[in-house]
């Protein structure tokens, strides 16, 4: 922030405007899917890495547009905590997570069907913001999210969830949503983000269904509806 010396007004830069990722997003972010090999290490294909603790899971789904058709050129990014509820972080000397745990990945669809899927581990609960509603700001001065993956009197836990960011042709600015798990009903019931959604019937749009098991891993189904009946909840984060 710069202060204008003439009138003491704070001056901030303005964020660069978003533009659609377009139909050829794969060239930049998943060139192998575009049909060619260019980088030795294409990023985003392994979210959890080989050393991650916790339950290995598979997540599958489809992004559906307002006409009910699958979106076949979508790209989804995943951001998640490890099984302890800890995120990889930039500050303070880096991660306290298992070696090789990135917590981030990229998922693209089958160009013919629009189906996508990825393997990862089920994240743990992570702390929410401090409970401002129940206290005064002066009492709970620290209103910032806690790094630690444990709940305390000021921080309710958030139920295990994946953070998703969806871009595609026709999507002008990336859509943020979350995926929760249907076998975490108790944690979901007190999750402060789910409870923020005024329309209780819409909360179900964020909850993936355990649809079976494959290769010893639970498979969760999570369809994302961009528009229309049961439109998925998207967040302004």
């Amino acid at each position: 922030m710069v202060v204008d010396a003439r009138n003491n007004a704070p001056h901030y830069l303005r964020e660069s405007a978003s533009q659609t990722a377009g139909p050829y997003v794969h060239i930049g972010l998943a060139p192998g899917a575009a049909g060619f090999k260019i980088f030795d290490n294409e990023l985003g294909w392994d979210i959890a890495g080989p050393n991650a603790k916790g339950q290995r899971i598979r997540v599958e789904g489809c992004v559906i547009d307002g006409t009910g058709s699958p979106v076949k050129d979508v790209l989804i990014e995943v951001w998640q905590a490890n099984a302890d509820g800890t995120y990889v972080r930039h500050e303070e000397g880096g991660a306290r997570v298992e070696e090789g745990f990135r917590g981030w990945g990229r998922v693209i669809t089958d160009f013919e069907t629009g189906e996508w899927g990825f393997d990862t581990i089920k994240p743990g609960k992570v702390n929410a913001r401090a409970k401002m509603a129940s206290g005064v700001a002066g009492k709970v001065r620290d209103t910032h999210p806690d790094w630690q993956g444990r709940a305390d009197e000021n921080h309710a836990p958030m139920a295990p969830h994946l953070n998703l960011w969806i871009v595609a042709r026709g999507i002008n600015i990336g859509l943020n949503t979350r995926m929760y798990f249907d076998d975490e009903a108790e944690a979901n019931a007190t999750d402060p983000v789910l409870n923020l959604i005024e329309w209780e019937n819409r909360r179900a749009t964020l909850i993936a269904k355990h649809s079976g098991d494959r290769d010893g891993m639970p498979v969760y189904r999570f369809d994302i509806r961009l528009q229309g009946d049961n439109e998925t909840v998207f967040f302004d984060v």
Binding site: R14, N163, L226
Partner: protein
């Protein structure tokens, strides 16, 4: 205990709305219900970390990173600038990825069928990590304009797609870089999804004569601004800006 600071709320008025009927594909792909505003939790104020070990040094040189038997055809350009936040502070060590059509306006993508030819020496993507001052640079060829199906006769201005991470998942941004003076900019329904003319101007890279390489490459300057972190009163000490 250190905590990640929160970010300024995103000013949605400078971004395109979800529904922009002149860009037809947005009509069926735009949420109709309001976004739920979410104050930042640790899920939003953290983000992935990338290092130089993830990349090769040649990854930011699109003239060489797919060359088979010579350089790609086209106007040789340098695109450089800084990644900053709204507080005008540099964003160091963040991943910047780009992708683009070749000089003829053709993408190396199995779904692109435009009649301009593929360039055997041009892949069309690159990536780099910003330095300690937030600087990045790429060398490439200037992409060509190309037609696309929207109205019967739509042409995209020359552009490079840009993806930036920042340090928090809530800073994640994909945008497009345009070139100063391109007469197609005011006619493009995708550019014009942005309601604010100043915001379009900020996506327009400017000729940077001093950064050109004489007898070799023209340079364009393009700064990218990500959301800024809030100052926090913490233990009676100001943090942040």
């Amino acid at each position: 205990m250190m905590h990640p600071a929160e970010y300024y709320q995103r000013d949605r008025r400078i971004h395109p709305p979800a529904l922009t009927p002149d860009y037809k594909t947005s009509v069926a792909r735009s949420p109709r219900l309001a976004l739920i505003s979410l104050q930042g939790s640790v899920s939003e104020t953290t983000g992935p970390v990338f290092g130089h070990g993830d990349l090769n040094p040649i990854d930011n040189d699109l003239i060489k990173n797919y060359a088979k038997d010579g350089d790609p055809v086209g106007e040789r350009i340098i695109v450089h600038g800084r990644v900053l936040d709204e507080n005008a502070r540099p964003v160091p060590n963040t991943l910047v990825e780009i992708w683009q059509a070749n000089a003829g306006g053709r993408y190396r993508h199995k779904k692109d069928t435009y009649l301009a030819p593929i360039d055997p020496n041009f892949g069309g993507c690159g990536r780099t990590i910003t330095d300690a001052d937030g600087h990045y640079f790429f060398r490439t060829v200037k992409p060509g304009a190309y037609p696309w199906r929207n109205w019967v006769n739509n042409w995209r201005p020359a552009h490079i797609h840009v993806s930036v991470f920042g340090h928090a998942f809530c800073q994640r941004l994909i945008t497009q870089l345009y070139f100063e003076g391109d007469p197609l900019i005011p006619h493009c329904p995708i550019v014009q999804t942005i309601p604010d003319p100043d915001a379009i101007d900020r996506l327009t890279a400017k000729l940077d004569l001093n950064a050109t390489v004489p007898l070799d490459s023209i340079a364009y300057r393009f700064d990218i601004v990500l959301r800024g972190r809030r100052s926090t009163m913490f233990e009676n000490r100001m943090e942040g800006n």
